[in-house]
């Protein structure tokens, strides 16, 4: 069988796996973004313990491999709490990406001119309101390219879930490759699906960026 036959014959397996990859990535990145936002706000907080906790989280998570974090959660915690393979992968990916996203948010917040916070506060807004109404909307707009980049990394890193038995794109390709003794073909096919997903996502980010550009930042 040649490459294209493998490609067409495996479509229904891979489409189902791609859907799982998208679900896994979406869940992980949504949670990861929330985690990132919370930890970035903690990091810039004037309350030292909060800032310290955030520092520890970012240092530990960025300093250890994703596969280690994944195995700790899936195998290591198995005796304590069993999340199942899918949610173990979601949690590990969320925690992992959250650390990077926290740094993206922090850089974004700190890139906003100090005068914005001062203007908001001088209208009588409290810190939280000024953050929510004035600073963060500007931050989101500014960090979309960076977030997009991190999301692409997250999408590709979701392939690690294969190692905790999630039948997503890479898991399925491993299965098919060994069943058919066709490693080159099936791993290349897996690569193509990832490439397609990344391209689709890039289009989405570009569209979002253009749309928000309408209200240009000074």
């Amino acid at each position: 069988m040649n490459f294209f036959q493998y490609l067409f014959d495996s479509v229904h397996f891979f489409l189902r796996a791609a859907l799982l990859t998208v679900e896994l990535t979406a869940a992980a990145l949504i949670i990861g973004t929330v985690i990132g936002l919370i930890f970035s706000l903690m990091k810039i907080s004037r309350r030292k313990p909060l800032s310290y906790i955030s520092d520890v989280y970012i240092t530990v998570i960025r300093g250890t491999p994703l596969i280690v974090q994944l195995f700790v959660i899936y195998f290591g915690l198995a005796s304590v709490v069993d999340f199942g393979s899918f949610w173990s992968a979601v949690i590990a990916l969320a925690i992992h990406n959250g650390a990077y996203i926290a740094e993206i948010f922090r850089a974004g917040i700190q890139s906003i001119d100090r005068g914005q916070m001062e203007a908001a506060r001088s209208l009588g807004m409290n810190y939280n309101l000024a953050m929510r109404r004035i600073i963060l909307p500007q931050v989101f707009k500014r960090i979309i390219p960076l977030l997009g980049n991190q999301f692409i990394i997250g999408l590709k890193d979701s392939s690690m879930a294969a190692f905790v038995t999630v039948p997503e794109l890479f898991g399925v390709s491993m299965q098919l490759a060994s069943n058919h003794f066709a490693e080159l073909q099936f791993y290349s096919i897996a690569g193509l699906y990832y490439l397609a997903l990344v391209l689709l996502f890039t289009l989405l980010v570009n569209w979002l960026e253009r749309r928000l550009q309408v209200e240009k930042i000074q």
């Binding site: 203007a119 908001a120 001088s122 009588g124 004035i134 909307p137």
Partner: protein, 265 residues
């Protein structure tokens, strides 16, 4: 209305304000002048606690403000502030900027806030820019929006921190005109500026600061035409060219031209 007692402020080793004492009456227009680094902006920013003074007391309406205990957000609603770099919210339209404070802080009904905002924008001459974003406005227009945004909170005092210093020269006039109108309507104003013409014309009282201290204060006539202190005279001779007669400056200019002519002839 505002009383400042023995205010001291340090930035690290540098003492930015030294024993400042100051009283501002209701409806008074006070203009702070002085070289950059003299502490005038810092003093202004201490009044609404954007900077925390290390020592001293600030009273507002006969009540001492304690930044640790009092709600500074309430105080700041009573004190509008206009910044050198406007600091408009770039993600909101002109109207959005002006109603933001009343709607989000004062919980005013949106329709009411919009109605008031439109009146204010008309007052500063920008009724036709309601739906524009700040990036599409000139500096002078942005600053007038910023003034309207502050006024929307119905402050009892307006603080101006070098409101025209970032503007192209031809745009300064439109902002000063709005400020002058505000002064005529009886708004209490404290203005840090390098616009000596404005100070001379609009101020009830001019304060000259140098090296973190108030060197001299008085009516514009006293400060500009009969300054007592040498440092005031030196400063004025550096910044004044036309509008006000300043004997030393005139003398210096005359000397300069005489020498030049002599040299040429």
């Amino acid at each position: 209305m505002i009383k400042v007692h023995n205010l001291n402020k340090w930035f690290g080793e540098l003492q930015a304000l030294k024993d400042i004492n100051l009283e501002v009456q209701e409806r008074e227009v006070v203009v702070l002048i002085g070289a950059s680094g003299s502490g005038k902006s810092t003093l202004l920013r201490c009044l609404n606690f954007l900077e925390r003074p290390e020592q001293g007391r600030i009273e507002f309406d006969g009540r001492e403000i304690n930044p640790a205990r009092d709600d500074l957000n309430l105080l700041r609603q009573e004190m509008g502030m206009v910044f050198q770099h406007f600091n408009l919210f770039p993600h909101m339209t002109v109207l959005g900027n002006v109603i933001e404070g009343p709607v989000m802080v004062k919980k005013m009904r949106r329709e009411k806030a919009v109605a008031e905002a439109l009146k204010l924008l008309e007052k500063v001459g920008l009724a036709d820019k309601v739906d524009a974003y700040p990036c599409h406005l000139s500096g002078g227009q942005q600053q007038r929006v910023a003034i309207a945004r502050s006024l929307a909170m119905h402050p009892r005092v307006m603080l101006f921190d070098e409101p025209t210093s970032a503007l192209d020269p031809e745009l300064v006039g439109e902002v000063l005109a709005v400020m002058k109108q505000l002064a005529e309507e009886g708004m209490t104003m404290i203005v840090v500026t390098h616009e000596m013409g404005f100070a001379h014309e609009v101020a009830d009282r001019v304060i000259f600061m140098d090296d973190g201290q108030i060197i001299e204060m008085g009516t514009p006539v006293q400060i500009f035409e009969r300054p007592v202190h040498r440092r005031t005279r030196d400063f004025l001779s550096k910044v004044l060219w036309g509008p006000v007669r300043q004997p030393e400056a005139m003398g210096a200019a005359k000397d300069f031209f005489n020498t030049s002519f002599t040299a040429v002839m």
